[in-house]
C-alpha cells in the first residue's frame, strides 16, 4: 500500500512536531522548568509517525519512558502534554504523571510507561478485550531493544500469539538499552527473529525511513484487524540525545561522537523532506512554513503550561481510587 501525497505531508508535520517538541523540552529542562526526568525521542520520529499513521482513533497504543513521540503521533494535544511536563494541573495527568505517564484513554493512548517492557502485557490485554468485545480495534505496542530481553516481552508475545490477538509489537531498536549496546545485551542482531519462537511474522525495517515503517506497519495492522493475530515489527533507528537529559554529552560515555553524527546524517525528517521536494509534492518554502507554524504552536503550548496553575496540595489525595 502506498501513502497518498496528503498522508506524506501529514507524516512530515507529525515528525516535525515531535522534533520541535523534544527540542523545546531539551531547552526547558536545562533551564529547570521541566522537573524530573526527560527521555527525548529526537531521531526516532519516523517510527511513531509511520506506525500511528495506520491506526484509527479508537485503536490502542502502549508506550514507553521515551513516549512523547508516540502520543503526539497518536494525536495527543501538545499543550496538555507540555502542561503535564511542567507538572501543572491542566496537564494530561493533572500533573501527577509527568513525562513518563502521559495517557489519554479516550484516543486509545493506554499510557506511556516507566517500566521497561511494562506496556507489553497491557497492549496484549487491550487486544484481548478488543477480541472479546468483537470490535476490529488493534493495539500497537512500542518498546525498545532493551525490553525485548524482558520476560514481559516473551510472555506477551506468547499470550498474544496463543490467542491470536490483534497486537502489533513495535520494537524500536535504537541500539542501546540505556548505556548498554545491543551487542552487549543480546546475542542477536535482529530482534524480529524472535517472532519465530512465537509463530508470528517478524519484520525488520529502516526505522528512519517513514515510508518503510508505514508500509510494514500497515501490513501488520491489516493482519490484526482481520483476526490473523499479532506481528513483531522491528524498526532500526537511533536516538540523538542521551538516554535522558543529563546523560552527559548525548551519551558519549558509551558511544562515539562519530557514531552519533553518522546517524544524524540519516535524519528521518531530512530524508522525507528530500523525497517530498524531489517528487514536487511540497516546496522548500512550504516546508519552512510548516516548521514555523509548528514552532508557534509549541510556543503556544509553553505559554499555556506557564500560565497554568500547579496542583493544589489536596489534589495529591485525589484519584488514588475511583470514587
Amino acid at each position: 500500500m502506498n501513502a497518498s501525497n496528503q498522508q506524506l505531508v501529514e507524516f512530515h508535520k507529525t515528525m516535525v512536531k515531535i522534533r520541535l517538541f523534544e527540542q523545546k523540552i531539551q531547552d526547558l529542562y536545562a533551564r529547570g522548568l521541566v522537573p524530573g526526568l526527560a527521555h527525548l525521542y529526537v531521531g526516532e520520529e519516523a517510527v511513531a509517525a509511520g506506525v500511528c499513521a495506520n491506526l484509527r482513533r479508537e485503536d490502542y497504543i502502549t508506550s514507553t519512558h521515551r513516549g512523547h513521540g508516540h502520543v503526539i503521533a497518536k494525536g495527543a494535544e501538545i499543550k496538555y502534554m507540555m502542561a503535564e511536563l511542567f507538572g501543572k494541573k491542566t496537564g494530561y495527568c493533572k500533573g501527577k504523571g509527568g513525562s513518563m505517564h502521559i495517557a489519554d484513554v479516550e484516543i486509545g493512548i493506554l499510557g506511556a510507561n516507566g517500566i521497561a517492557g511494562g506496556g507489553i502485557p497491557l497492549a496484549v490485554g487491550a487486544g484481548l478485550s478488543a477480541k472479546m468485545r468483537k470490535t476490529d480495534q488493534v493495539a500497537a505496542c512500542f518498546f525498545g531493544d532493551g525490553s525485548s530481553n524482558n520476560g514481559t516481552f516473551h510472555e506477551g508475545l506468547n499470550f498474544a500469539s496463543v490467542h491470536r490477538l490483534p497486537v502489533i509489537f513495535v520494537c524500536e531498536n535504537n541500539l542501546y538499552g540505556i548505556s548498554v549496546s545491543q551487542k552487549q545485551h543480546q546475542a542477536i542482531q535482529d530482534v524480529s527473529i524472535r517472532s519465530v519462537a512465537y509463530n508470528m511474522p517478524g519484520v525488520t525495517v529502516d526505522g528512519n525511513d517513514v515510508f518503510a515503517v508505514y508500509e510494514a506497519a500497515g501490513k501488520a495492522v491489516q493482519r490484526a484487524r482481520v483476526g490473523e493475530g499479532p506481528t513483531l515489527l522491528e524498526c532500526k533507528t537511533y536516538r540523538w540525545r542521551g538516554h535522558h537529559e543529563g546523560d552527559p554529552n548525548q551519551g558519549r560515555r558509551y558511544r562515539t561522537l562519530e557514531e552519533i553524527q553518522e546517524w544524524m546524517k540519516k535524519c528521518p525528517i531530512a530524508r522525507l523532506e528530500e523525497k517530498l521536494v524531489k517528487r514536487e509534492i511540497i516546496t522548500k518554502a512550504k516546508i519552512k512554513k510548516i516548521w514555523e507554524e509548528i514552532e508557534k504552536e509549541i510556543e503556544g503550548a509553553v505559554a499555556f503550561a506557564n500560565e497554568s496553575p500547579f496542583p493544589e496540595p489536596q489534589d495529591m489525595y485525589e484519584d488514588v481510587l475511583v470514587s
Partner: protein, 583 residues
C-alpha cells in the same frame, strides 16, 4: 530578544557545576546546538550546547568558578543587537550552597513558581581558617549542628596548643615533676645518680603530640569535616582562596570563622635567630638543655620554661619589664609564686629593660637596664617570651573589609566581626590568648552561625599556669572586684593545713576566694598550689551554676582530698573554717 545561557540541570541529583572552559569567546557567532562551554558536575565533564543562534554577547561567569545550576552564565544576542539593559549589571555569581540566583528574566515567572522544588538547595555551610584548638573544635561543633564544614589548615592539626604549646610543655613538666619529686624525696636512695634524658623526654613528648594529632584527625573525619591543606586568603567576604602545594582553589561559604592563632613576637632590637635567640617553638628543637638560659619576659610562657629548665639544672635568669611577673594574676598569688621561684634558685629581675643582645664567645650577652644602671648578663641561649602576635597579616582581611583593632580582629560578644557572617575566634581576637578560651569562642561562634544567639562570658574562663606548684584562677581579682563597686569579702585557706597536701608533700600555696557580701556571689577564685589547675574546675562550675559561697561551704568532700581546701576556704569566708585556728 536575547537568549540566556544558564548552567543546565544535568540530571536530577546535580546541584552545582564548575565552568571548566569556554569554547567560545565574547563576540563569537554561535549556532544553536554547538558546544558553548564545558561544565564539570559530580566529576563528569559535559559540553553545554548553545540554546540558540546568534552572537555570544556577554559571558558573566569566568572559567574555574563553581556556581549553582540555573545560574545565568552568558547571553546570546542577534548580530548587531546591543546588550539589553537588564544584563548591564548582572549580580556576581551566588555562592555555592545558597539558593540559586534569581532565575533569568524570561524564565522568571515559571521557575519562580517552581521555587519550592529548589529551595531544598540551601545547605548552610561554613569555612573555618585554622585547625587549632579554636578552629577544630568549632568545626566539630558545626558538624554536630548539621552545618557543612570546610576546615583550612596550612600546618599541623591542633595548632600551637597541641604541637608547640600546652601539650608539649605539659609532657615535659610531667617528666620534670616526677624527677623533682624523686630528687627531693628522702625515701629514695642514691638519688644523686638520678638523671633525666632530654632526648627521651623529647621522644615521649613527640609520641604524645602524635597521638593527639591523630585523634583530632579521626574526630574530624568522623564528622565528615572537609579538611583542606594550605594557606587561606580572603578574596571577598564570602570567598577564600586556598593555596596548597602549588594548587590554588577558591572556596565559597556563607559563613566564615577566622581562627589562625598567633606566633611568638620578639623585641624589635633582638630578632629571633633560632640558634641563640629562641622562640618558645625553638625550645622543642634543642638537642640538649642549655647550661645557662636567659628568659626575656616573665609571663606565663617564660615562667613555665624557667621552671622546666631550672629543674633540669639550667641556670635560669628571668627578665621582666614590669614590677612583677605574670602581672595578669592576683598579686598575692604571684608574690607567693615569686618567692618559690627564687627559692628554687631562679634569678628574677623585675623592672628590667632589655636593651640589646650581642653574640659573645659561643653564647649571648644580654644588656639590660635596671634601676637606671646598665647590666650585662651572659648566657648560652636566650628564650624570648615577650608575648605573641596574631597571624592576621596574610589573610587579606582588608579584602573582606573586616574592621581591625590594631593587629587583632575586632569582634563583638557574639564573636562576629564588622562583616556579618564572618566570625573570629582565639588569639586573633586578642581577648584571652588561651586554648580553652579559643575553643569556647569557637563553639559560641558556630552556634551563632547556626542561628542560636550566644554570647561569651570571659569572666568565667579560668587561666592555668603550670609551675611547681601550679597557679590557677577564675573571675575577678580582689581589687578588680572592689573597683567594680562590690562589697567583697575574702576567704582563704593554706595548703599547709590540709591533711592530703601534707601527705603528698605538697604543702606550698593557698586558696583565695573573693565573694560579694550581700548575695554571697562568688566573684573570683585564685589558687597557688599543687593540682591548682585541676581544682579550678570545681570553682568554674560553682560560678557557672551560680552557687553561693555558703552553698560551697556546705559541700561534703571526700577525705583526704585537695578539694577539701576549697570548701575550707569557702567556710573561712564565713569565718568558720574547721582547720584554721580561731581568729
Amino acid at each position: 530578544m536575547a537568549i540566556e545561557v544558564v548552567v543546565p540541570i544535568l540530571g536530577i541529583t546535580v546541584e552545582k557545576g564548575k565552568i571548566l572552559r569556554w569554547l567560545k569567546k565574547e563576540g563569537d557567532p554561535v549556532q544553536k546546538g554547538e558546544p558553548l562551554f564545558e561544565v564539570e558536575t559530580e566529576k563528569v565533564v559535559t559540553e553545554v550546547e548553545s540554546p540558540g543562534t546568534g552572537i555570544l554577547k556577554k559571558i558573566f561567569i569566568p572559567e574555574n568558578l563553581e556556581v549553582p545550576v540555573l545560574t545565568l552564565v552568558a547571553v546570546i544576542t542577534k548580530p548587531g543587537e546591543e546588550l539589553p539593559e537588564q544584563y548591564k549589571a548582572v549580580p556576581s555569581p551566588p555562592a555555592i550552597g545558597t539558593v540559586p540566583a534569581a532565575p533569568p528574566p524570561q524564565a522568571a515567572a515559571p521557575s519562580a513558581s517552581l521555587a519550592p522544588l529548589k529551595s531544598s538547595r540551601a545547605p548552610q555551610d561554613v569555612l573555618i581558617l585554622g585547625a587549632g584548638p579554636g578552629g577544630y573544635v568549632a568545626a566539630i561543633r558545626a558538624a554536630q549542628l548539621g552545618i557543612r564544614v570546610t576546615l583550612v589548615e596550612k600546618g599541623d592539626l591542633g595548632g600551637t596548643c597541641l604541637n608547640w604549646g600546652c601539650i608539649p610543655t605539659k609532657s615535659f613538666l610531667a617528666d620534670v615533676k616526677l624527677f623533682r619529686k624523686i630528687k627531693s624525696s628522702e625515701v629514695f636512695v642514691n638519688r644523686e645518680a638520678l638523671a633525666i634524658d632530654w632526648q627521651k623526654m623529647t621522644a615521649r613528648k613527640n609520641r604524645v603530640v602524635e597521638t593527639l594529632r591523630h585523634g583530632v584527625a579521626v574526630l574530624l573525619k568522623s564528622q565528615k569535616v572537609n579538611l583542606v591543606r594550605g594557606q587561606g586568603k580572603f578574596i571577598g567576604p564570602h570567598a577564600v582562596e586556598v593555596d596548597g602545594e602549588g594548587r590554588k582553589e577558591i572556596i565559597r561559604a556563607e559563613a566564615m570563622v577566622v581562627a589562625t592563632g598567633s606566633r611568638p613576637s620578639s623585641l624589635p632590637q633582638i630578632p629571633f635567630d633560632g640558634k641563640k635567640i629562641l622562640a618558645s617553638d625553638d625550645i622543642f628543637l634543642l638537642t640538649e638543655p642549655p647550661k645557662e638560659l636567659v628568659i626575656i619576659g616573665g609571663g606565663v610562657i617564660g615562667v613555665e620554661f624557667a621552671m622546666i629548665f631550672n629543674s633540669l639544672g639550667t641556670r635560669v635568669t628571668l627578665l621582666e619589664m614590669l614590677p612583677q611577673i605574670i602581672s595578669t594574676e592576683e598579686p598575692e598569688v604571684i608574690q607567693g609564686l615569686n618567692r618559690l621561684l627564687e627559692k628554687e634558685g631562679i634569678r628574677i629581675f623585675t623592672q628590667a629593660k632589655v636593651l640589646r643582645a650581642l653574640p659573645l664567645n659561643g653564647g649571648v650577652q644580654v644588656i639590660l637596664q635596671r634601676e637606671g644602671k646598665e647590666e650585662k648578663l651572659s648566657a648560652e641561649k636566650v628564650l624570648m617570651a615577650v608575648g605573641r602576635k596574631p597571624n592576621t597579616e596574610a589573610l587579606g582581611l582588608d579584602k573582606a573589609g573586616i574592621q581591625m583593632n590594631g593587629s587583632f580582629i575586632e569582634v563583638n560578644s557574639r564573636l562576629e566581626t564588622s562583616i556579618p557572617g564572618i566570625y573570629a575566634i582565639g588569639d586573633v581576637t586578642g581577648k584571652m590568648m588561651l586554648a580553652h578560651a579559643a575553643s569556647a569562642q569557637g563553639i559560641v561562634a558556630v552556634e551563632n552561625i547556626s542561628g542560636k544567639n550566644r554570647e561569651i562570658d570571659y569572666q568565667k574562663i579560668p587561666s592555668c599556669i603550670y609551675t611547681f606548684p601550679e597557679v590557677a584562677s577564675v573571675g575577678l581579682k580582689e581589687d578588680e572586684a572592689r573597683q567594680k563597686g562590690y562589697e567583697v569579702q575574702v576567704g582563704k585557706f593554706p595548703y599547709r593545713n590540709s591533711g592530703k597536701a601534707l601527705a603528698i608533700g605538697e604543702t606550698e600555696g593557698f586558696v583565695k576566694i573573693i565573694a560579694e557580701k550581700e548575695l554571697g556571689q562568688i566573684l573570683g577564685v585564685h589558687i597557688l598550689g599543687d593540682r591548682a589547675t585541676d581544682l579550678i574546675g570545681e570553682c568554674v562550675l560553682a560560678m557557672n551554676l551560680e552557687g553561693t559561697i555558703e552553698d560551697w561551704g556546705k559541700v561534703v568532700k571526700g577525705h583526704p582530698t585537695l578539694s577539701e581546701i576549697l570548701s575550707e576556704a569557702a567556710l573561712d569566708w564565713q569565718g568558720s573554717a574547721i582547720h584554721s585556728p580561731k581568729k
